[in-house]
Structure formats: structure tokens, C-alpha cells
Symmetry: C2
Subunit: 1014 residues, 2 copies
Amino acid sequence: MAASMSFALLLCLFFLGGFPFADSYYIAYNTTPQIVPDKINVHLVAHSHDDVGWLKTIDQYYVGSNNSIQGACVQNVLDSVVSALLADKNRRFIYVEQAFFQRWWRQQSDAIKKIVRGLVDSGQLEFINGGMCMHDEASTLYIDMIDQTTLGHRFIEHEFGQIPRIGWQIDPFGHSAVQAYLLSSEVGFDALFFSRIDYQDRIKRKGLKSLEVVWRGSQTFGSTSDVFTGIFPENYEPPSGFYYEVNDDSPIIQDDSNLFDYNVEQRVNEFVAAALFQANITRTNHIMWTMGTDFKYQYANSWFRQLDKFIHYVNLDGRVNALYSTPSIYTDAKHATKESWPLKTEDFFPYADRKNAYWTGYFTSRPTFKGYVRAMSGYYLAARQLEFLRGRINSRPTTDTLADALAIAQHHDAVTGTEKQHVADDYSKRLSIGYAEAEELVSSSFACLTESTSSTKCEALSPSFKQCPLLNITYCPLSEMELSEGKDLVVLVYNPLGWNREDIIRIPVSTASVIVRNCKGQFVDSQVLPILNVSQEIRKLHAKAYLGHSAGIDPKFWLAFPVSVPPLGFNTYIISVGGNAVAGRPVMSKVYESHNNVVVGQGNLKLVFNEGSLSRYVNSRDSINAAMDLSYVYYSGDDGSGTDYQASGAYVFRPNGTYPIEQRKQKSLTIMQGPIVEEVYQEINQWIHQITRLYRGKEHAEIEFIIGPIPVDDNVGKEVATRINSNVRSDRTFYTDSNGRDFIKRVRDYRSDWDLEVNQPIAGNYYPINLGMYLSDNTTEFSVLVDRSVGGSSISDGQIELMLHRRLLHDDGRGVAEALNETLCINKKCSGLIVAGKFYFRIDPFGNGAKWRRSQGQELYSPLLLAFTEQNGDDWAKSRVTTFTAMDASYSLPENVALITLQALEDGSVLLRLAHLYEAGEDKDLSVMARVDLTKLFPDKKIEKIVETNLSANQQRSEMERKRLVWKVASSPDETRPQPPLRGRPVDPLKLVIELGPMEIRTFLVNFSFVSVL
Amino acid sequence: MAASMSFALLLCLFFLGGFPFADSYYIAYNTTPQIVPDKINVHLVAHSHDDVGWLKTIDQYYVGSNNSIQGACVQNVLDSVVSALLADKNRRFIYVEQAFFQRWWRQQSDAIKKIVRGLVDSGQLEFINGGMCMHDEASTLYIDMIDQTTLGHRFIEHEFGQIPRIGWQIDPFGHSAVQAYLLSSEVGFDALFFSRIDYQDRIKRKGLKSLEVVWRGSQTFGSTSDVFTGIFPENYEPPSGFYYEVNDDSPIIQDDSNLFDYNVEQRVNEFVAAALFQANITRTNHIMWTMGTDFKYQYANSWFRQLDKFIHYVNLDGRVNALYSTPSIYTDAKHATKESWPLKTEDFFPYADRKNAYWTGYFTSRPTFKGYVRAMSGYYLAARQLEFLRGRINSRPTTDTLADALAIAQHHDAVTGTEKQHVADDYSKRLSIGYAEAEELVSSSFACLTESTSSTKCEALSPSFKQCPLLNITYCPLSEMELSEGKDLVVLVYNPLGWNREDIIRIPVSTASVIVRNCKGQFVDSQVLPILNVSQEIRKLHAKAYLGHSAGIDPKFWLAFPVSVPPLGFNTYIISVGGNAVAGRPVMSKVYESHNNVVVGQGNLKLVFNEGSLSRYVNSRDSINAAMDLSYVYYSGDDGSGTDYQASGAYVFRPNGTYPIEQRKQKSLTIMQGPIVEEVYQEINQWIHQITRLYRGKEHAEIEFIIGPIPVDDNVGKEVATRINSNVRSDRTFYTDSNGRDFIKRVRDYRSDWDLEVNQPIAGNYYPINLGMYLSDNTTEFSVLVDRSVGGSSISDGQIELMLHRRLLHDDGRGVAEALNETLCINKKCSGLIVAGKFYFRIDPFGNGAKWRRSQGQELYSPLLLAFTEQNGDDWAKSRVTTFTAMDASYSLPENVALITLQALEDGSVLLRLAHLYEAGEDKDLSVMARVDLTKLFPDKKIEKIVETNLSANQQRSEMERKRLVWKVASSPDETRPQPPLRGRPVDPLKLVIELGPMEIRTFLVNFSFVSVL
């Protein structure tokens, strides 16, 4: 009879509660408060951050399976939010990721759909951001960002008639200029919100109340593409102590005085204190609390119950005003204050969340997946063209599956490489499925387009064309097989670009005794090159891994020949076995080994190799003759065992040593020479191989690298980079692209927004590269282009560095909880992943580099698309259309314009997007107004109606411009472009000429009166 | 380009899913299935097991605070269940714990209440068990079990008009006979379900398909109190792999063929397999799946979504029939099969969930709290009588707060001692608050009852009576203070029992110079005893701890005097300062120390002490002269470091050594002798003190023990027991009570249901003791009675062992995650908890023991209730009622009947419960039909209406008997009582005599035409 009783009696004296089961204690909470102008307004934004794949796959997240990895079920979120919103009409919720929302929406009954439409109409449920995913901003190409946003936005518009107003990139690991001006302003967003900026930057901004800014992301467009941008004080979660997911341990409001632990006053005080703290670093008396985080609101009522109470009691208290809000309401409130905002230019890369934690590793993480995404993106662009050209049928095959797969692959834990391995596999699987369907569509489209009789009902044709998506591993069954006498290989070469194209194509063949003819039966120059052992090995290994069976008999040669293809069209080449005939036979490459004084290149461009390595770059036309070298290094990834526990991992690049990789001295170069292409093969070491190529008619070098398996037997993770040294005096300055679009000036060890404390001289100078980067001095420009997203830098003057592969043994502590240690497994035997890819470089006289970067960039993104079939005898060319262009035969797009979307939509309309490829001032000839004549782009179709829309095609452009909020800038010190930007005028429906100013992307919905197979 | 793609392409070949955003994919699940007689029916019972306090307090569990300890929020459960039930009318849910339900109900709006009433009416929401908590069955007294069940049942009846049909004791750690026959059959339950039985028993029952039985818990009532009892195959959770709380990782059914991982067939197969497995150990083709567990259904939809799908797809499959069910539906289905069931008698104690894990520690865990609960229970009984006698007012003070506090204290993690310390404190705090209010009520009732003018409006009286709840620590400010000349202390002595009572009372006083008079002014014999040092120390320490301030000047003496009090009434004694007067002064005890040949006792009973210890028990009247000794031992608690990791803890008693505690040799006994009481004080060791008392007119010994702080400096937890050796040749057999009611025969190292494998010869022979235990041979009975619930055994013949205190340093791995290491803290300085308590023993000739056990048991449970006030001069007796009985002055209840409930209800009716105290055959004179004459019990009131009800007073008894299902018994080998039991006949409303057969408890709702202050 002791302690228990003691405590009881003691407390009894102070206890004010009462009879537990007194009368009813129902409390009707007053949740009606709106903005009160003269108080601090705490905008409570209920949200769930639902990663479209990360630790689990998107479908696992949606249905709530695989919860042993992470408890998360988006179906719960949406189900329970609907109930919670219905329970109180003042409650609001925002939903972001349309890939999830669409999965849910499809499963709902008509009754629920009707209810949800009501909630959306009333504003209780608001779609924010509205893309399929919250795309990454570093490893993504602007075209993919646009496509995935468009897919989400058009769905929302179609189902709900709603137009998202707010960009909500709360989680991506750094923020791009293209996101600001293109994916926000041009989409029509009134504001953009996010949380992740450099920790040094954040500290400064807090002090200056400059976390909320006007962001001017485009030098070309200047203030016309400003967007109000709010950076959260810490993260996208609630203030500490205000988390209310089921089982969260923040103190709830206990307001039933009949129960113990009544705490209303205490919790109100804590709420007010947190509000005042934030108000002290925020301009105006509006602050936003992001009341949610990853996969929360699985039982939404658990949050809303507390939010109801806070609104009720905080407003009874009266010191601050708390209200249910959304980012739109918050944005309007901010705007209504007529405040002026600090100006922010450029971008928010790189991102470090603390000392020694630069999130620049993910620029390269999973390089094969990044390459796959990029290849599929280009293929999707072409496939949509072909879907349009064939005529969309709205039954399978379509490009829609690939569209969805690509859309979610843009997620900030997808293409970034920061997901778990099984999730990366899921994204790849989705791309593969989407590709397979698109490939079928493309084949059937070719079948249609090559039919000479237009009366044929095209969709009924069984596609006989095959494609070779595994050419990257030297695998193409159709071209490899011995062509039997009388059966020729027909190669259809499709050009998705808007101008005529001369290029070299290469296919593996089993014999050098072949003859290439064009569609008129004329011989075409060709060259055969022995297939390198390294390529044969890769073919064997990966064909087995990809297909589950052996690759069959090895082909012996690459057959290379030049092709010429009209814009938006194709040409056809016939390959037949030559037998003993001499005429038309390909040139056999001259193959030899050498070590010194090797000169390759038969045109203006020559490369000189000495001591087994590249030593000079010579372009006689431009009188460039410069020392140059190319080497590889690896960084040893920090293992996190030091005093700063930060390891290098999927997100974070933290090198703890730089190790040059010496080319093995005993190895000479293997040179293959011939009229079409010249190659230099280097075995840098056992696991790095490199082939340098110079093509006839091209004045750039192509470098193919094959890296891996990166050895980790020494228990050291390694991050492999190439370094190309030029003699350009770049003075710490280099230029990298923003999502493949604008180039942004970078200065080593410097940030324009704050005095940088340099802790990571390598990692802290890395930037994302999607298109390429360049250096310049007053005489020359040295440019490199890439075939996928990578990280890059210029660590010393004149040098360009690209990180090409990473294999790490430790997790970097940002949640993925796996080391980035990719492997290739066959029969459960795994070895480190091999990456094969390409980059390209060129030196131009100062001021001339942009043209190559832009034009070559387009060709890299949209390679010629090859399809194969067989012919018996020579009947193909006779009975088929062998050359084709969708455009007027005499027309091609201007050199500074690309057709980035041509897509037949489900409703019969056509989505058309044209992009000017140059920034203002980028090229003296091409940074000018361009014009596209639609009558010549679509010569056989009549345009009934053409409407210009915003970028994501969910509203008329004029409407968007009318509505978009204009923000005042507090100081605009370096408005470098005072004159208004060039922008095309509205399209005259009679003339149908589209004007495009520099960097302009214009989006149209076009209705043709006649859409058919041509 | 490598692994990602490989996996993708490979899987693509096997992928049968499709276009992700095809048309609507809404599935309407068919959840209508009912029972199909010729199939295996899987009764899916959705439930949440909500502990009324355990790791968190009841209120914390309700509101969902303190989630860092355990994520649990019952408010979520009830909120979300209502929504989920509304979403599909075929869904069902059962709710059990009314303490939670009532908290929730009070907070609901009228609109929600209406909806919930609809759900209850339709059977979608069914109340099961229906007490305030799921009471423990080992440490609880039958009266408390009845009270807490009644409280819940009457609420349900009042709010919903519903009568729970099913007992649902799924978690308590062993099951009592009283639960079976009294709290199930007599309540009207058609079945009782639970999960925890001995692991050896379970194995045998599975093999014999005897997990479902007819349980005959009462020897007295035999088959008339049978109850169908279902023991779950493993636990009260779903089969492995079928858990669907938010974030649980059981595989969900993924039935959207547009998403990956479609698994309907696989999950259906797993469901069917689990069903067949269970069907193989179950009679009939009905099996129950308990779809829930502790605090689940926080987001009920997460479960129901999957249950809907299982019902839909499993029934499409057709091998078994799955349906939404409840234990009622299941029970009816079982009954409808007309199957016969194995017979189970006795009880399910002790419980072991595996070898070396006997849950017999909790019989004693937290002995001070167990004592507090018992004391409050007795007080509550008396306070309700006084509330009735004063006339219930329905405004404070009432006994309702104490009722609620006591109700939840019966929870199987409350009085059991298996809760965390802060939760134990919470229960005590609630009791303390409830007590304080009841104390006020009792005082005001005394104020009324002592008013001689009945015209006074009684409720307006300010109570001037004070009580002394801390007499157990020798603290009673009123009696202690120096009585100033002319101011006397008035002691009102209330007797809650139904018969006149002669007893000795003791109060601390500051001076021996006092005089005790009865209400007629006559001197009363009295004796003063010096207060022992050990008591003074306890007083100082605990007064400081309980009250937060010093206890004031120490009183010097106990004043003991005999009192005589009428049934259900009081008598008054006046204590005044004697001054120099000699007449009437108390006898000063003779105090001395001795070692050998000490004989105490002035009546028939004498105890002999030799060598400092008890050595003989002599009762001259009964010619008993027997060797006897009493000693203490401690068990060292296993620390779980051995190969079997089981530690001794709050639940589990696992001794790893027995250590006798030798009384210090140098210490002599301190003896105090006198005419009223004789005491022998022994300091067993530094932390065990014992006082043996013999009272005038009583023929039993009272042992007061003071144990603690148990030393643990040696890092060994200790469990302290007393062992009393008699010369009874008990032949391994002993008898322990079931919840203070029936006595059950126990045989050491033996179970009647299976061949016991003895692994724990001590712990495995422990049983719960609430009233007492006894041994017998053919000549004598040796009985011990206790003042609270403890564990006890008879480890060797003739010996009775009681475990009195436990202090352990390791958690025993059953969830509470705290070592049972209770302390008393003052200014944050903590020392081990001290327990002070009493037990009583007596030896009777064979066949005579029951009378003492039953009568003395009633007196222990319902001690005389003392209240104090002062008088100036002698005016009290003149102007007040000084002696009172509610009954006819000539009447008292029969010796074999107790009034266990006399309670004025809120609606003006009165709840009356009478209990026969003897089992059939227990006593040759008293195990007979008894009669209570209500006209004499309530002489001043007219009974307008009297209705006999079931035990929990939520339905008429006749209705209950008409409805209750009768179950067939497969074999009834030992039907020891073939003749029908004696039961009282229905009450003739004219005669108003209540008959009670042995062990009968009869419950009535009585309406008086005149209820007033007398």
C-alpha cells in the first residue's frame, strides 16, 4: 500500500478534471477562418509527398504492398482524404502526383468520382504541380519535363476542368533555371515552391528574409518569365512537434476536460511560438506550414482532427490567425500584399544539405538507366510522329504506355538513380514494356507509310518491320543473319528531325561480302570494320542477360555506310550478299596497331595520338591546332568512417582521393581506317575501353567508352571520370546546360548568391550535364556533348571533366538504404555493371560553338531510327514507297527550330510544339526570329483550327498570360537584357506561319480536317 | 544499356499486364455471403483489442497521445470503423471495451450518434463482452467483475437497447471458473471466447479437436451453468500473413490487372490453405478468424478493403465460404450444427505460454496496488449503501467516479500489475480521485443519517465527518490531535455487512490519557499500545510521499477498543481526554522482549513462540495443539541470461533459486499484552517486519507484514514469499478460491486435463488467491485468508505459501518492457517500494473451516468504516442519531448471505444483489437454502416493483433463461452433482422473500415508492 497510492493522492490535490462520464462533450470546431490582413496568417497546407517510386515501386506504393520496406499506401491517402474533406467543408488538401491519382481515379465508382469532382470544384481538393510525377531537375531533359507535365495537366483538365496554378517541387535535390522559367512561367504557374537549397545559401537567406524571391531563370526572357518562388525554411514537413500521422508522436491537442492531460493552452503556445519564429524570417505576415510529408495522410482524419483543433483554439487565442489553406491561397495572399521581392537569377545547383554532403553524385548515378531513359525519350518523340503520320487509332499499339513509363521515369528518385535496385528495375521494365508497344506501333506505321496503295486500311497491316534496340550491344538478328541468295535486307532509315540529314549508320553483319544499294538501286559507298573483341564480349554477356539465351553466332563486322534522309521522313537502303561480285563491295578497313605519331581523320578534322594517347586536335579549316589529351581518373568514394560520417552514395558525391588511371604502357592503339569512318581503339585498363571515331563529313570526335565492371575487391567504391584537357584559358569559368536547354555560366569555387565556403573542391563544383558543357577564351570554344545525363565540372582551367560511372559500397544516409553497387547477373552470378556510352567533342573558333552544340545535340537526341525487313528479289522497291517526307518536299525547318512534339491526341486533335534552339545572343546568325510555315510542314492536311496554349497544353496561351500574377522585384541590379525579348506573334490562321524568338517554345493544339495515312 | 534494361526486357516477355490508364477499373466486391451449411465457413470477425491501459494510460490510448511509447489511438479506431461500416452494409465490427466506447460516445455529435445507433441496430456494430474493460480473471474479486460488467452492460442497454451475448476474454492470462459460470452463464452469455491456455493443454486439445468445449465452471450448479467456450488455435490475431493495419506487411490482394504484382489466385490459395488447416483441428465446418489485434483498425478501411476482397475472391473460388461475421453469428452457427462438445471443468490456471514461462508472477505483481484496489472495492460497496441510504441526488458527490476508476482497475493489465509504472500511477490516481469524491459522499451521508430531524433537506448539509484513509500508515490527523478540554472526538463506526458485528478498532492517539465512551455515555474497555518504531518510520516516509508534507507530531499510541455495530448501520463512540480521572482509562499494554516460551492469547487460541519464532498453534476449545512455523523465503528472479532467455518479470514467475530468510538470531520478540489485543513483533531482517496479533473474541491469528525495500544491490531481483507449515497431511492437495468465490481443488504437479510435464516445480504450482486457501486431512483444516490478491501454493505437504512482494530487474518479454522494480520517491530520491499487508490463519477441525473463511472473508472485504468528528461538551449524543440500522432492528441477514450490491441508480431504481456465501456441500449447516425478507431489509420503504435480472442487470432473468442456448456435452464422465442444484424460486411480490441456494447470486431492480433520507 505505498507508491501507487502516494502518487494518486498527491496528484489529486491538483487535479481539476472531473466526472469521466458526464454529459455529452461534443465540440464543434470553428474551422472557417480566412485570411486576416493585420495578423500573422499561418497557412496550413495539408499535403502528402508521394514519391512515384523510391524504396518501393510506384504500384507497391499505390496499393500498399511491400510494407516491410516502407509503410506506405497511396490508396489509403486518397481514400481517407476524400472522407476527411467531406466531414468538414473548410478542410483543404492538395494532391500532386498524377501517376498515383490516376491509378486511384480509375478504380473509383461513379458515385465517388462525382463526390471528388465536387471537392475539386469547391477547392477543397486542389491539384498542385499536376505532372505525373514531381520530376527531377538535374538529370531530366526539358522535353521529358514538358511531356510528363503535359500528361498530368491534360488529364486534370479533361477530368476536372482544372488548371494547376502552382509549381510544387518540394523534394528535388536542387532546382534548375528551366524549371523556373519554362516549367513554371511558361506553364502558367503563379508560384513555385520547394525546400532543398544549399545549406550556406539557406542560412544567408534566412537572415535576409530572402527565402521568398522572384526567380528570373532565363537570360533570354528576362522579367517576362519571372516566377514567385518560395523556399521553405527547413523542409517540406510540419514544424517540429506538429506531425499527426497515425502513430506519430507529436503531442495531440487534448481538449476534453473530462480526460487527463488537457493541454490546449500549452499546445496553442507552442503553435504561436513556431509561427512567430517563422514570421521572423519571412516577408509579409503570411507564412506557410507544410502539414505533411512522405506518404502521410494514410488516415487523413488523424491530421485533420488536430488541424481543426489548432485552427479553433489558436484563433480563439487570437495572437496569430491559422487557416486551412493551399499554396494557391498562400500565393494570392502574398501577391495581395504588393510586397517587392528579392531577385534570384541562375539556378540552385549544386545542392548540399551540409558540409561535405554535395548531392552531385546523383547527376551520374545509374548511368545505364539514365542512358536508357534518354534513348527512350528520343524514341518516344519519333514514335509519336509516326503515330501521327499513320493516324492515331486509340487502340493498341499506341505510344501511351511508353509515355507513362517515361513520365514516371522523370521522377526525382527515378532517373536520378536514387531509388532501390528493385525499383530501378521496375522503371526499366516499364520502359521496356512501353518500348515494345511503341516499337510495334512504329513498325506498323512503317508498314502503312511504305504501302503505295493508300486505299489499304492501314491498321490492319501486320507489321513486317523489325527494329534492333540492342544495337548498343552489337546485336541485331536481322542484319546479322546470312542473307540468303535472293533475300535482301531492307533498311528503312527514319529521320525525326525537321531537316534533311546526312549521316553514317552502322549495323553488324556476318560477312564482308555485302552490297549496299539505295532505293534507286544505286551502289552506296560502304566500309566494313572488324568487330572488336571487347564488343563481342559485351554482346555475349548482355544478350544472355537481356534475352535469357545466347546471342547466336557472332557477327564479324560492322557495316558502315552513309545515308541521306529527308526531314520527318525516311529513305530505304537495300543490303544484299555480294557473292563474288566486285562492284559495290564495301571497303575493308585498314587495321593496324601503333603507338606513336598516329594521325586519324580524312577530312578537315584530324586527331593525333602519341605515346598511345590523344595528343593533338587539328582542324585545318578553322586553323585550329591545339594540344589535347584525354584521360581517366577515379575518385575513391568516402566510406563514411571518418569523423564526418558522410559516405559517397547514390545522392552524395564525396570523394576522398583522386587516382589517375594510367593507360597500360604495353598496349598500342588499334587503328581502323577507311573512307567512311576511322577508329582508334584503346584498352585503357582491364575495365576501361575507349574507341575514338571520326566520321566522314563530321568535324567532331566521337568517344565511345566502355567502363566496368569497376573493381571493388579492395573494398573501395570508385567513381570514374574522364578528363579532357584543352589549351583553352577558361579562367575558372565553364558553361553547363540547364535540362538540355539554356547554358548557364559556372565559376569554379564560386556562387553568385553568397560567399562560398569551399569544403569540397571537387564535388562542390559538379553540375548536371544533359546536353553538354563548354569552355571558352577569346579565341576558341571547347565543347563536349553527352548522350545522357551525367555530372560534369571543370576542376582546372582548360579541362572538362565528366563523371561516367559510379560503383559504391556504402549508403549515403539519405534514405535509400542501399549502396549504389549495380551489377549484372546471369544465373545468379553477378558482376559489376558495365556502362557503354558516348560523348563528343569539338573545338570551334570563339563564337562558333553554339551551332554545333545545338544541331549535333538534336541529332544525338533523335538518332536515325532503323527498321529492317527482307525482300525477295527486288520487289520491295518496286511495290513500296521507299522514300518519304511528311513535309513539303521542298521544305525543311529552319536550322534554329526543332519540332519537339508532334502527337496525335486521343480526341483527334494534334499537339504541336516547336522550339527555337538558341538563346538570345548565342549565335550571331541563328539567335534571331525564326519562322515555320505550317502549310509546308503539313502539306497534305488542312488545318481547321489552331489554338496556341501554354506549355503544358491545358489552357489557351492568351488566357494564361491574362491571368498570371506579376510580381514586384525589390532590386534588379543586373537586368542584363533591358530590351524586351523577341517573341513570336500570334499565329494568323490564314497564313499559318509560326514565329519563334530565341529560346521560345510554342505549343499548339491543331485540328486537321483530314487526318489520314498519307 | 546494362542491368536495368536486361531485367526489363526479360520480364517483358512474361508480363501480361497492360495499358496502365485504360478505362475505369472499378470493382464492386460481393460481400453479401452468409453461412453455407455444407462448406467450411470462415467467420471473419473484425475486432480491435483495446487495452484499457497498459503501456499508456487509458486516456492516452483513447486520444492517441504518448505515441512514442506505443502507436495507439482508440478514437481513430471508432471514428474510422463507423466510416468503414457505412461504406458497405455487409461489413461488421465488434466493439468490446466500454471504457473507451463511452469516452468516444460522449464526444460525438447527435448526427453521429444517430448513425451509430443505426449501425448497432442493424448488427453491423455489435457490442461483445461489454464490460468497461476486459477484466483480469486471476487478481479480481467476483464483486468487482460483476460491477464493472454491470456498468458497461447497463450503458449499452440504456443507449442502444442491446444485450451483449458473448464473453470475449481474449487476452487475460488464464481463465477462472467464476468467469465461466458466473460472469458468462449468469450474465446470459451464449458463449465465451479466449486464447490463452497452457501450451501443453493447447497441443493436446488441437490433437483432439477439443479447443471448443462446454465449460462447467461450478460444482454447485453443474450443467445449469454450462457455457460454450471457444479457445482460439493460437492467439486472438489473424492467421499469419493476414494482417492489414496501415503499414502492416502482410501481402495485400492486388487485383488491378493494370498494375504490377497481380496476386489474387495466390492469396486465395493462401487463404484456403489457412482455413483448411484450422478446419482440421476444429469440430463442425465453422471456423472463426479474429481479424485484428491490439489497437488495430486505426484506419479501419485498410482492413475492410482487404476483407472485402477476400470474401469476394475466396467465394468466387468456392473451396471455402468466407463471410463477415461476429462471435454471435459464429456461436449461433455452432449451435445450429447440434454438435456435442467435450466437457471442461475447473479452470485454466495457471497459464504458461511455453516451457519455463508460467504467468504466475502477476498474481502478486504490484501488491500495493492490488491492496489499494481491494480496499477501494470494499469502500465502494459501503459508499453505495450510504448513497442509497442518504438518497441519490445525481449531482456530485456520487460514487460514479469511483465506480469508473474501479471498473478500469479490473482490466487485465491493471490490477494484474502488468502495466508500465506510469500507467499504474494513473490507475491509482483515478482511484484516489474516485475515493475522494466517494469519501465526501459518505461524510455527507453520515451527516444526514445522524441528523435527528428528518425534515432537514439533507443534501444541503455540509459534511463535518472526516475519514482516515491513511490509517494503514498510522496517520489520522483527527485522532492524533490533542483533544482539548471540552472537545471530544466522535467516532462513527459503520458496518456494511448484513449482520451485527463485534470487532476491535484501533486509532493512533497522542496520549494514553483518553477515555472511550459509547453513545450512551458508558465507558468502553480500551487498551493502548505503543506505536512501533517501524510503524513510525513508515508513517514519516509515506506521509511525506503521499501528502507532500511532513506527518506532523508523531502519535505515541494505538488506542484499541471493542465496538458493536448493527447491520447496515452505525454506532458512535466518544473519545475524550481523561485528564487525571482513573475511571474508564485504557489499559496500558504490557511490553517486553523475550526469546523462548512466549505464549500469547488470552482466549481459546494461543500461539507459542520459541527461539524467536512461532512454534505452536493451540486452540483449547477445539483441542487443537499443533506444531506450526512461519518463515520467509525469497526466490531469485531469473535474469534471462541462460539458454532459455526467459526472465522473471511482471507476468512470469521464473525463480532460479530459493533462499530461506533467517530471522536475525540476536533479535528477541517484542510482546505487547493486554485485554483487547496481544501482539508479537518480529524484525525478521532489516527489510521484513512482522506483527502477529490475537484479538479478544477472535480465534484466528492476524499477521501484519511489512516487506521492503527489497534489496537489489546484488543485482538480483527477488520475490518474497511466506511459508506457513502445519502438520496437516495434505497429500499434495490444496484448495484455492476462484475470484474469491468457489474453492477449487489443486494437486501439486498435476493437471486433470493432461499429463503435466513439470518444468517449473514452484511457478507451475502457483495459483491466484483472492480470498484464501486451505489444506486439509481427515482431522483438520488449515486456512489462510488474504487482504488482497496474491499468488499462493503448497509446495510441500502441510505448507501454505503466499508470495507477498516482488522486485525484479529484468523485463520478462511480454510487452510491458519495464522491469517490475517499484519504488517510492521523495524529492526524486527513490527506494524500493515497501508493502504492508495482512493475512490471517486458523486451524479448524475438518469440515468446520468454511464458516470462518466465509464470514471472516466478508469482514476483511468490508471492514468497519470509521468517520470522525468533534463535539463540544456532550451535545453530540443529545442532538444526533448515534446508532442506526437501515434494517428492521430485529433483523439481520442470514449468516450464509451477503448483500453484495445495494445501489441507487440514476433512474431512481435500486440495484440489489444478494449472494449465498457457501457452495453446495461446503458446510453442513450453511450450504442450504437461505431466505432474505425484503420487508425487513427495507423496513421503511415500500417496494413498488421488483424485477429479477441477470447478473449484469441488463435484462430480466426469465428472458435470459428463455433465450440462453443449451449445448450438448459429448461425454460427462464425472457429473459429480447429478441432482439439480438448489435455486431460489421467483420472488413473490407480495411476500418479498428472496430465496438463495448455495452459491446463488440473485440480482434485482427494485423500485421503492418512497426513497428518502430516513
